[in-house]
């Protein structure tokens, strides 16, 4: 093999190694687990990592303070309907957010392990614009 080809190959390998490392590190730094509400209640949460939960909004539990932009509600497991969890979200209530709406939350449990503090809240309303996951 020519010396130049060797050098080029070496440089390429270095880059590929770097990219591999970036991807691995990216996954471990930013990866988020999917959990159902029932799973969280039973197993708790991994402390370090964020979690993504999906469920539906329990009717009659929505409490929104428009002045302070605080949204509290209870989310229900999509399958096991008796499993529920309280949620706190700081921010604007999404348009599609209503009773029975399907929501996807990302965040973690608070210190007491009682309330799920959501950093992002996506609501999907069960209508013909189902496709429209509004980013909020």
């Amino acid at each position: 093999m020519k010396k130049n080809t060797q050098k080029t190959l070496l440089a390429l390998l270095l880059i590929l190694g770097g990219v591999g490392f970036l991807i691995m590190k990216g996954v471990s730094d930013t990866g988020v687990y999917y959990r159902t509400v029932a799973e969280i209640i039973e197993d708790g949460l991994p402390r370090q990592r964020g979690v993504r939960v999906s469920g539906s909004v329990l009717p009659g539990t929505i409490d929104y303070d428009q002045q302070r932009l605080l949204l509290r509600f209870t989310v229900r497991d999509t399958e096991q309907e008796d499993k529920t969890m309280q949620v706190l979200y700081r921010g604007v209530r999404p348009d599609a957010f209503r009773e029975e709406a399907e929501v996807i939350l990302e965040g973690r449990l608070d210190g007491a392990g009682q309330t799920f503090v959501a950093e992002t809240l996506l609501a999907k309303c069960p209508s013909k614009y189902e496709s429209e996951v509004r980013r909020q």
């Binding site: 080029t8 390429l12 970036l22 996954v27 988020v32």
Partner: protein, 653 residues
């Protein structure tokens, strides 16, 4: 004639013509019969005629409000403005598929016309055959599982209307331009495959398809930019790119085709990297189809979610067959494709192209990896682990910066083998300018690494490009005695193929500036205001001064007016709206924008309370406008490189 019948018949006839073309071409190839191949060529051209008729029928159905047609009923209604009725054509997946088949057949008709005197060549029948098979695949889907002409058992009084968020000019051109790009890569792919089957492996296929490649790349670029623009002005979350699976699906082929366009230059000049280029064009085509598969299959969650449509399986089969077929072909022609001479030096322009390729593909790979990661992790570990925006930003930012560095290095390094001395000489000015720029920013208070690096590199690359421009103008001045002012535009035009490339690069630099500014220095704030109250963000103060509501065509509009002051000085008024469309359950927020060279002030009103108190979301996005300007330059530069010159017919280089 009944438009539904016309549509169905034309669609079927188009499919039949494509099959007939395949049959005739195969026969002609088997018996070495030119007449049969010529007949196949004509059958292939006829496909375009029939798909055009089908497209005409679907447009008529939309314009005449024929709601018995399921597709029309799902995406239009009587109150919809005429313009949007016409463009509802591609609002859903069935119409998109027809649009796809239509454009592809038009492209094919163009190829068929341009090659009418070349049917004797060994590779031409294979080009036709590959194109006929691909268009037949789309027509098969249209005729069997996904026909836009399917009727409802009854006629609803009105349609369900077009999603209000799609009622935006940017959105109207975003899907078709993306499609024009996706579909365009079919042509070079067909040429490449034909070259391998027929054994005509000279760079002829590359030269013939250069314009197709660049044109498709331009359309992809426009499509992606329009998508970002649409997200920014319509979706109201304040950004333009969210690494959503469908965005990624358009970005991945863009990256791969960008890589291909670069190494195609190397092959043209030096006749090396021939295997590599085959791989890249196949990858480009496959990623285009894969993008379609991602959108249509519903395997991933996305804003663009079209729901599971049952088309996913078909695309997956097509993808696997095409992928394996291409792989076998490349393996079989490997011995003829590979070249003896390789790169002569690590320090050469060729090698910067190679590294640019590796990085572009690395970004494509990490983007693909992140997109399908939830599927992989569930298959491998059984646990559902997903990655989102932070992943893509964290992994791709350093790679993009490396790419930017290479963009600047490339013109400084000579072909074949550059000398260190030469490099030092070329390097001095751009590097010191970049350093100085970085220093100034540091003093001004920019202390984070990535923005500092991005802006310094932007200076570096701009300087190298300017040097190239200056060198070109000086050379022409010496040659012709013209003044520099006259020589510059003339040399740019003369050598537009080369300088167009630099214009694209400069566009990319501006885009980096826009993206860096608006992401690293973004300010966001939300507040609820009663009339008379004010909020501040950045240098701005926003006072809620008025509220009104009115009826407008197919929607009710609630509008709040805000008095804006900047640094205490009045800076006009802004109005932000919420619109309730008659046919939609959810209201939409109308973004209010105040754009300047320095920064965008971005306002939405996500909520209106009982006593007209409004919740306001405000954002300041510094430098973002330069990103859009850069996007425009990228497109312009691309166009520059493909404008034919009169002399080009005689000269090949």
């Amino acid at each position: 004639m009944n438009m539904v019948t016309l549509g169905n018949l034309s669609q079927a006839a188009a499919f039949a013509a494509a099959l007939l073309a395949m049959l005739l071409l195969l026969l002609g190839l088997a018996r070495n019969d030119l007449r049969s191949i010529e007949a196949g060529r004509r059958a292939l051209a006829a496909v375009a005629l029939f798909t055009t008729m089908a497209a005409f029928a679907l447009s008529r159905l939309f314009l005449t409000d024929n709601f018995q047609v399921e597709y029309v009923a799902s995406y239009s209604d009587r109150a919809l403005p005429l313009f949007y009725k016409a463009t509802s054509f591609w609002a859903g997946q069935k119409g998109s598929l027809l649009f796809w088949a239509w454009v592809l057949s038009l492209y094919i008709a163009l190829v068929v016309r341009n090659t009418r005197n070349e049917t004797r060549r060994r590779n031409t029948p294979y080009i036709y055959l590959v194109l006929a098979s691909i268009v037949a695949f789309f027509l098969l889907l249209l005729n069997t599982v996904s026909s836009p002409f399917t009727l409802l058992p009854f006629t609803p009084p009105d349609g369900q209307g077009l999603n209000p968020m799609l009622q935006n000019p940017g959105m109207i051109f975003h899907p078709p331009t993306l499609f024009l790009g996706y579909i365009g890569f079919t042509i070079p792919f067909a040429y490449a495959v034909a070259a391998m089957i027929s054994g005509r492996l000279d760079p002829d296929w590359l030269r013939k398809t250069r314009r197709w490649n660049i044109l498709s790349w331009i359309f992809l670029t426009i499509g992606i930019i329009l998508g970002g623009q649409w997200a920014y002005v319509e979706l109201g979350w304040g950004g333009f790119w969210a690494w959503d699976p469908v965005e990624n699906a358009s970005f991945i082929p863009w990256l791969v085709s960008t890589a291909f366009i670069h190494t195609a230059i190397i092959q043209e000049r030096r006749n090396i990297m021939r295997v590599w280029n085959m791989v890249l064009i196949v990858l480009t085509f496959l990623t285009c189809i894969f993008g379609t598969y991602l959108v249509r299959s519903g395997v991933l969650q996305s804003v663009h979610d079209f729901g599971a449509t049952g088309l996913g399986g078909f695309f997956l089969v097509f993808l696997v067959v095409t992928g394996i077929g291409s792989l076998i072909l490349i393996a079989e022609s490997y011995s003829q494709l590979r070249t003896d001479h390789s790169l002569e030096s690590l320090l050469s322009r060729e090698s910067t192209f190679l590294f640019n390729n590796v990085i572009l593909l690395a970004i494509a790979f990490s983007t693909l990896f992140g997109t399908i990661f939830p599927l992989i992790s569930e298959m491998v570990t059984g646990k559902k682990l997903t990655v989102g925006e932070p992943f893509f930003n964290q992994v791709n930012t350093p790679l993009f910066l490396l790419l930017l560095l290479l963009t600047g290095l490339c013109p400084l390094i000579g072909w074949r083998r550059a000398s260190i001395d030469n490099l030092k000489k070329n390097f001095l000015l751009p590097a010191s300018l970049a350093l100085a720029g970085g220093l100034v920013l540091f003093v001004l208070g920019v202390r984070t690494f990535y923005p500092l690096a991005a802006f310094s590199l932007a200076v570096f690359v701009s300087a190298t490009i300017l040097l190239e421009f200056a060198a070109g103008a000086r050379a022409r001045k010496r040659l012709t005695g013209e003044s520099l002012l006259l020589a510059l535009p003339r040399v740019l035009w003369r050598l537009r193929r080369r300088y167009g490339g630099y214009v694209v690069h400069f566009g990319m630099v501006l885009m980096v500036i826009g993206i860096t500014g608006s992401t690293a220095f973004k300010q966001e704030k939300e507040a609820t205001l009663r009339q008379g109250q004010a909020m501040t963000i950045g240098d701005y103060q926003l006072r809620y001064t008025g509220f009104r509501s009115f009826q407008d065509r197919n929607r009710t509009v609630y509008a709040a007016t805000l008095g804006v002051t900047r640094n205490g000085r009045p800076a006009g008024e802004m109005t932000t709206e919420r619109r309730y469309y008659i046919n939609a359950e959810q209201p939409t927020t109308e973004v209010s924008l105040r754009i300047s060279a320095r920064e965008d002030l971005y306002l939405t009103m996500p909520m209106i309370g009982r006593n007209n108190e409004i919740t306001l979301r405000a954002a300041v996005n510094p430098l973002l406008v330069w990103g859009w300007v850069g996007g425009g330059l990228m497109v312009l530069g691309g166009i520059m490189t493909i404008i034919p010159s009169r002399r080009q017919k005689r000269r090949t280089t």
